[in-house]
Symmetry: C2
Subunit: 344 residues, 2 copies
């Protein structure tokens, strides 16, 4: 295997404000499909790429003293989660032909350092694209966030924002399977219908059509909220704080509405934390990766028996990546946004 073309989606420059398609470029590179002698890297053929809101954060020129995250380098391809096939491996745990999910780059072929070990895909009787979401990072995110951080009890009242997104739709279904009352918010009538009719939420509302979020929450939760699964931040969080119950928990998974803002919105109702003894806890999914086998045991049978449904929005072709990514922030996608790079 010699040198082949390698199409990439690269970041042109650090992004300020709302992400636009023109912030990214499609570039034709080349790659030699052979590992250098003695390399312990892994050479991947990318099949599916995951389009995730947190990628926007990595496009800002943020200097993080802890280096708990490193921004993308302008001129280089975007990075994120994906499903790929191993073409060559310098690491004993992987061999040619293995299917894996994990860290990869937005291009056709990627050399990935062995320090970023991907997960091997063992179950292929489900769609491979699921490993960019329900069976990948976002599945463990929903599972660990809801169960390990939220500590739900049967009968509790759960609110999920961005509820039709990859994580939200799962949290809602996990909550229903736990015997909770679940309400979700989303940004279109179609998504609200999906929440109520497909994902089994007890109720849902379109936040864009609610002039008063506080009133909407009071309507859906006359007795208050026990667990808020936080995906958006800002005004929604402020309204939720007024509607929490004593000993409530706010599981902070993301704050999409704040990403890329030069000046984030101020949250003014934090004193409610005190009177209600609230625990507001953020988490990073990587801390919970050791739970992955346990999660698969929980979720795989439920997918196969139809007890959990999962909706994806699959766009084909790397050249359509920028539009797919931008669409996340206008709420254009319905369900998990996936980019199909190549068929197996």
């Amino acid at each position: 295997m010699g040198e082949v073309k390698n199409k990439k989606v690269v970041l042109k420059d650090y992004v300020i404000g709302l992400l636009k398609e023109s912030d990214m470029d499609i570039v034709e590179g080349t790659i030699t499909l052979k590992l250098p002698e003695g390399s312990n890297e892994i050479l991947l053929k990318n099949l599916y790429l995951s389009c995730d809101p947190h990628m926007r954060n990595l496009m800002s020129n943020i200097q993080d003293p802890d280096e708990s995250f490193v921004p993308y380098t302008p001129g280089s391809p975007l990075e994120g989660y994906g499903v790929a096939k191993v073409l060559e491996s310098g690491h004993p745990d992987y061999k040619k032909g293995d299917l894996v999910w994990g860290f990869t780059k937005w291009e056709e072929y990627s050399l990935v350092p062995s320090s970023l070990i991907p997960f091997k895909i063992e179950h292929t009787d489900v769609p491979l694209s699921y490993y960019t979401g329900i069976l990948g990072m976002q599945g463990i995110t929903a599972y660990a966030g809801f169960f390990e951080v939220g500590l739900p009890k049967k009968g509790e009242r759960v609110f999920v924002s961005a509820a039709s997104g990859a994580v939200g739709q799962l949290v809602g279904q996990f909550a229903k399977l736990t015997g909770c009352y679940v309400v979700g918010s989303a940004g279109s009538k179609h998504k609200v219908d999906l929440l109520k009719n497909k994902f089994g939420f007890d109720d849902a509302f379109n936040y864009k059509e609610e002039p008063d979020l506080n009133a909407a929450l009071k309507r859906c939760f006359p007795e208050g909220i026990d667990i808020y699964f936080e995906n958006v931040g800002g005004k929604t969080l402020d309204a939720v704080l007024l509607n929490m119950r004593n000993h409530g928990r706010i599981v902070v998974c993301g704050m999409t509405s704040q990403y890329g803002r030069a000046q984030p919105e101020g949250v003014t109702n934090l004193t409610s934390l005190i009177t209600k003894r609230i625990r507001m806890q953020a988490f990073l999914v990587t801390d919970y990766y050791p739970m992955y086998p346990k999660y698969l045991e929980y979720v795989l049978p439920k997918i196969k028996e139809g007890k959990i449904v999962y909706v994806e929005d699959i766009v084909e072709g790397l050249e359509n990546g920028p539009a797919a990514l931008v669409g996340l922030f206008s709420g254009r996608n319905v369900g998990k946004q996936v980019l199909l790079v190549a068929h197996e």
Copy 2:
């Protein structure tokens, strides 16, 4: 014992904005020093009253749907924590002459419902006034908040705001006894000196003289903060959020700077919770009252051996109560503000 005069500090009307002395009145009432036949109340002679920032919250006309707190009634005396002597008791657990601490009212004599059972004072070889603070509600607050909510480990870096206050000075000393590095902020040079020279903080700063709180925190915590004991909220919290370490904990005890504001300040850096996986947890001390005996076992020997010091600012006379209370919000008091109503 017949009818006697009963001086009271009453709230004139609900308060908007900054508390002023003129929001309160000194009223001469009368009381019959005898329990009604068959009453199960307790008749108290108040000795010391505790001046606490949270009292300001109860002066606003806030309708709390959960009734997790009930505002004061205009025209009635203020309520709060205090040390008192039992004059008559309709409850079998208390008898005439017992010294107690707990809920009482801002007046010379109070009838207290038996449902608000006070704590009996068993150890009188320490100043009685200590039961309004270090040996009372604020002692358990500092102990439960720091140890049970903060879960400190030896060597961790702890920041305390309002550090010379009743709770703050204890948290700092508990942290030092745990082997932590401790920095406090306060609002005057005198208080900063007290923190460094009397309470043994490793460092301290006067927040009023720091044009940039973020820079002040970076100077004191070049490697970041593991535990923030939150007493003030607002701008301080916003600066702290930028300086937390991974897996940091924010123990939310109070947000004094926000009490009584018509429009609370917006906190803009909450997305830092996510990248640093922070747990921000509020608590109410009443949930931890069962730990009181355990706390006394911890703290009493340390007080007697001089391993913990405690500073009080005692003002004498109910008529000086309004000024003492108002002074809390301008930072006039040094150490725990106590109002001496009567000698035993």
